[in-house]
Amino acid sequence: MTASELGPSGSADGGSPLRAPIETVEAHIVEVISDSGEGAQKCAQAFATVSAKTGNGVWTVEIIPAEIQPPARSIAGASGNRIRIGSHDVTNGGDAADLILAFNDQVLLGRVRAGELRPGCIVLLESKWKDDSDPDVAKQYNDAIEYLTREGYRVYEIPIEAECLKYVANPKRGRNMFALGILNSVYGQDTELSCDHIRYTFAKKGDDVVDGNIELLEAGYRWARDNLDIRFCVPPSSTRERQIVVNGNTALGLGIMASGMEVCSMYPITPATSASHYLSDVFRKAGGTVHQAEDEIAACCFAIGASYAGKCAVTITSGPGYSLKQEALGLAVMAEIPLVVVNVQRGGPSTGQPTKVEQGDLLTAVFGSHGDAPKIVMAAASIEDCFYAMITARKLAELYRTPVIVLTDANLATAQQPIPRPEFRAEWAAPPFDQSPVGDDSAPYDWDPKTGLSDRFLPGRPSGMHTLTGLAHDRHSRVAYDPEINHEGLRRRSLKLATFQKALQTPRVHGDREGDLLVVGWGSTKGAIEEAVDRLRSEGCSVSSLHLKFLQPMASGLGEILRRFTRVMTVEISWCDDLQEEMIDEDNRRYSNLAWLLRGRYLVDVDCWSEVKGQPIKPGSIARAVRARLDDLHSPNSRVG
């Protein structure tokens, strides 16, 4: 059944449909929230998929409480998704919601207090609490309605459960599908696309479940059509190519398959684990194995062993697990064993905010381990990057015989976005490894004097026998007792990064190539930074941005770019001290991760702004911070101007 079939005359209960005018908008931010386990996420994901199918740009952000089952109806317990849909590519979750559908008043208030709703936001709220047998609950609900109305929100009370009970006996079941029907109606979407999604999602649960959900979906659609006076149309973008809708962790898993890596070893840690969940399900089809090790150290050492004896392997973790792997990373650097390490960053230090985003591990990635441990560090800036980064990282690890650290974060891990469907190319995958005899005059570390590069011998190659060691060693992998040999090893390993750096292209500046202010970022903040810069530029500000994929080494030409701007600042989700604080001054200020790196390398007075609240940084917040820098620059008292 399509929406048009349901049509104005298709109303099940014979009620007269409201002929609400359709308001066309270029983008909308929708949130669906409930208590944990009530299915808001399933509803939101379906809505996002349908939006992508109808040609909208989409970005979803998970809203998750810290605990698996927080108390019901609690302000901190909101679980669900934000879905931003647009007529153009959507690269981040945006600022404040335009419409929110909530299953109870308390999780809704949580979002209001967090400042996540725009003034006048449309609120669709389950109304069953109004007459709850518990007078406290009823009072909370009525107080909330009064407060929301007073604050100017457009509140619609919807008897979701009461309507669902017309179709199902268990009111806990299927409310989310009724909600999906409401959204389909409000956004003029074809319910048949939602039905397809339901059939796919619930295929394993059988026809009864599928049919029941579809019935509720259609009921929701009809109810909204007949009772709500809000209708929006977000016109589709012009993109007509085939796309896949995945989150960053799934993209990592797909990228690992595409790269031809055969072993992924891991230890469970949030928010990295869902990548391994996905891979555990499908890796076998591509000839791979996921090994759940006894701990993070073992996971890294297992990957090192697999890499040593075969194709490059990968280990996936998050901050605390990444810390535990440091000693093993030093071994991989010293013995020149290819290895891909993914760090899906979360809030730290320590257990910190395990489910929330932070970009605090950049310096750890660049300088971590012990001694001089040069390694390649790169960061994914989008869902698509998560996929392709795995292919690139595998190749770099093997070519440069070094660990490659790939940084993503909790934002990318759970965010969903449609991306062009990749077309597999055979050169993505690792070639079969060489098992032919080794030449008489070759050595396991036959370092090229100019580049530091050498070919490794895998076990199984006749005449190539040697003992790989974490001790300082010569080109034959013999333990170095001569001080010159240690020096040579350090030099060769360092040279490899310089060699790789020569192959890097200077990243493109977003906006003008020179101006008042340059914003530099890395990782998942790219979409929000560029959106903020675009807004400021449309206001006439002289602002550009630069986003770095390779953090170590950094491409040539960056210093030159930085110097073409009057001021440079980074925007990162990693802590920096605020000069406004009484105790903070230029002598003791601690900068965000990337700002430290840029200041150190380029001798440019790089400023920084950060917000470390466990949330993706919003474009509006970035724009405000940048505007403040610009105001300062243009004020008569500016230290620069």
Binding site: K53, G188, R242
Partner: protein, 329 residues
Amino acid sequence: MLGFPNQCSLVANGERYAVADYESGVPRWCSGCGDHGILGAFQRLCRDEQLPPEKTVFVSGIGCSSRFPHYMRTYGFHGLHGRALPVAEGIKLRRPDLHVFVNTGDGDCCSIGTAHWIHAIRYNMDMTVVMHDNQIYGLTKMQMSPTTPKGLKSNTSPRGAYLDALNPLTTTLGVSNVSFVAQAVDWIPSLFQEILSQAFHHKGFSFIRVLQRCPNYLPTLFDSMMHEPSRTLILWHEQGLARDPELARVYDRQIEHDPSDIARARELASDLEVAPVGILYRNEQVPCYEDVRRSDQLQTPEMIEAALNEEFDNFTVEPVRQAETAEGE
């Protein structure tokens, strides 16, 4: 003794591998160290089994005994303190065609690497692991280890070790999926050689604890055992070591022990006065992790492409026309 090769046994020129073909460098262990004897036994094992050196990998951690791979002319991996086992597991999972051996010490295995040891037993991957147990840290100069006897003075226990020693045999025998446990002593090399051979032929994780003398720090630790043959109990069985009448003239305490009897094995292993030497436990029926887990197909680009496309299909959104659904009126 000449072994019977189980695969490609001939060197290119048609000769068989000799012990010298497995030797590399001059071991830098102290004179009189038990490691020398263990090294010789491994080289003879390789010779007896005619293991192609390029198909053989010795993996170790850190410590005196972990220098072992440097002295074998095979592939070797001298890695991190305590982490030999996960490295060896990664190798074996990816390359079941390689013969994997692990040399580890009492500190490496029973202290810093304990988690890996316990789980390696449970994974039961096909490899032979020798724990060189001299009951002291040697490389870092005489600190107590988990197997140091209570009361023994060391640099970190100047008034004597505070705790009862950890028993590596009962610990190993207590873990699910245990499949081969043996004990040897470095002063009866013929038994160690035979145990090593049986461990090598066992399909699964073969764990041998070798009581081994440290002439530098604990030169007299095992004197009483060596001088009182009654403190050694030799285990024989048709499924274990053969009865050796020569040896029986010195070591008169010999019993028949069925290696499939785990309860009896645990009992024997618990005896702190009399050291059992021989094969305590063997179970050929425990599945190997690499057989359970490894993908049975050889990876090809076609296979990757097919898998990816199948997955992409699940996530694909085909653009549809919007106009019909907008109910524009």
